[in-house]
Symmetry: C2
Subunit: 346 residues, 2 copies
């Protein structure tokens, strides 16, 4: 990509991006404490020896949340690691800056899904980009909850450009996939990376994959820094209205030991994805990141069971047959037929 | 390495190697059932679509063993994957054969260590090699147990060549290491790979690492196929006498919830090692291996806790300060001083 056609970032870009993710962290933590009513976030600030630092917040043993972790970090360094330079060769030879917030919530009640959010901003010399998204991982899924989560994120994307959601939704399905299980991590949401306004593919990106569509979808329309900033802001702010209503609706649904056991078993899949496939986690662990903050995403308790298979026609089978496969949640009407007999519609 | 100087394998090499690992699986399972007294191994045979198959055995909810998995497999194919060909370029263009047994035991009592064993044999055209080892991962360690485990494996190595153990012991420390935690997985044991009798380094092996020592230690003495076969046999047979006495000694030691919680927390480290660092696990998962058999190594239950640190001067601190660092278990006398005050000697 020629740098001449590379959209400019504003002068106060770093400050604006940092303020955005910091305020997201604050707003999310405040609202999670409010809904939990018992759990309180413990905060820990840390410095990164190579430059920058962060602010980790963890709630443990809350009423709703068995564990909730919300990180903020702002880090910088001399040169980006090879894994990122491969995909963004224009950044080579430049010092870099990155700021972001990431969150994983592990509710206690198996009827409330686990959820993940991450929004981040990078700068390295003349190049910059936004990345992030949010995805939902139910244990005992409801079609209405899934649709609600997606609808809120679609609205957020649409508010910037109505072409974006049809790229970011399948991109999420592609990224949060456990190849060794042939399963999605959950019902997805949205995901995007290396968004610099050019709409071009980044090096190494699958030219047949969903991300490749963005240039087609956007046509000649380059997105400006401000539009992408507003995209991250709009999606970040969509999280609370996408998730809190699910808590409200499910928090009093009673469950027994079998549901708890299944939740712990499925949490094992969350561990498998994060440690085997998640580029961010692996990159962090292999390059001297802050281990405790990186692994805040892991569940407080998880279970493995050799050869487990769900009973025919069970609610558990519905999860693996329908809700851990990429789906067209809004318009596929067969989903309703599959969910209705198991009371998994609403 | 010139193939002219490559030691020959006998005509019945595949059959002999297969018989060895099959009989190891049998002998180990029989003895584990005997000592457990309640748990029974469930066996499952499986075919590999690309060639070969295996026999997986799992005991769940035994008296001693919360979970015990012992696998056998014999697989073959057209060409080895790039990750192995990089280290053994002579195998390129040849069909291959591999057979092995692998085992992970997760006892219920936190005073009994988790243990892992794996012995394997590869052939690809003119090249062949043995690999494997065994390592111990205590939760509440005893110096005497650690020394006993190492002593039995040292004797097994010495029976083939007294130069081997001083290479295979540090090789194990190097391999079973969690860089992101700066911790060993446990107290180690022995480990070796790509042993073809030449004593040469394989491609990509750290020339400053422990494996590099083997050619120095063995001097001009090449090991024959039979010697390496006997090495695998001798080490494999050392497992039961190295481990069963630890069970006998610890199985009636009572423990409470804090010990159980600490065991579950440390099992999280086992998951982290296997999913982030273990080449065999990652390779298997990323190349369409039999997921359930590969992940039989994961514990039935594991726990993560943000920011956990052991109490000053506690038994738990002894584990991370002393027993998850590479040590000279036999001759370092300061170990005894560190263990005595915490009743961790014997």
């Amino acid at each position: 990509m020629s740098l001449e056609h590379f959209p400019q970032s504003p002068e106060n870009s770093r400050k604006k991006a940092k303020q955005l993710v910091l305020s997201l962290q604050d707003e999310i933590c405040n609202n999670l404490e409010n809904i939990d009513k018992e759990g309180i976030f413990q905060e820990e600030s840390w410095d990164r020896p190579e430059g920058g630092g962060g602010r980790s917040r963890v709630m443990r043993e809350g009423r709703v949340f068995e564990q909730a972790g919300v990180n903020f970090s702002e880090v910088h360094g001399e040169e980006l690691p090879p894994s990122i330079l491969n995909q963004r060769p224009e950044a080579k030879g430049h010092s870099w800056f990155a700021t972001g917030t990431s969150m994983v919530l592990h509710p206690r009640n198996p009827y409330i899904p686990t959820v993940h959010l991450n929004y981040r901003y990078f700068e390295a010399g003349p190049v910059w980009w936004f990345g992030g998204g949010a995805d939902l991982t139910p244990y005992y899924p409801y079609l209405s909850d899934t649709r609600h989560f997606h609808k809120e994120h679609q609205k957020a994307c649409d508010s910037i450009n109505p072409q974006l959601h049809k790229v970011f939704k399948p991109w999420c399905d592609e990224y949060f996939f456990l190849k060794h299980r042939n399963e999605s991590r959950g019902v997805g949401g949205i995901f995007f990376d290396y968004q610099d306004g050019s709409g071009k593919l980044y090096k190494g990106q699958n030219p047949q994959g969903p991300a490749a569509n963005i240039s087609n979808k956007l046509g000649k329309h380059q997105m400006t820094w401000d539009e992408l900033f507003n995209l991250a802001k709009s999606c970040g702010k969509a999280f609370l209205p996408s998730y809190l209503p699910i808590i409200e609706k499910r928090q009093n649904q009673s469950y027994g030991n079998p549901q708890r056991e299944f939740q712990l078993y499925r949490r094992g899949r969350y561990v498998e994805f994060n440690l085997v496939w998640d580029r961010g986690t692996i990159f962090g662990l292999q390059t001297n990141g802050r281990t405790e903050s990186i692994l805040m995403s892991l569940p407080p308790l998880a279970r493995w069971e050799y050869g487990y298979t769900a009973e025919n026609g069970s609610r558990e089978e519905l999860l693996t047959d329908v809700f851990t496969k990429p789906q067209d949640w809004f318009s596929d009407r067969t989903l309703e037929e599959k969910c209705r007999p198991l009371n998994a519609l609403d």
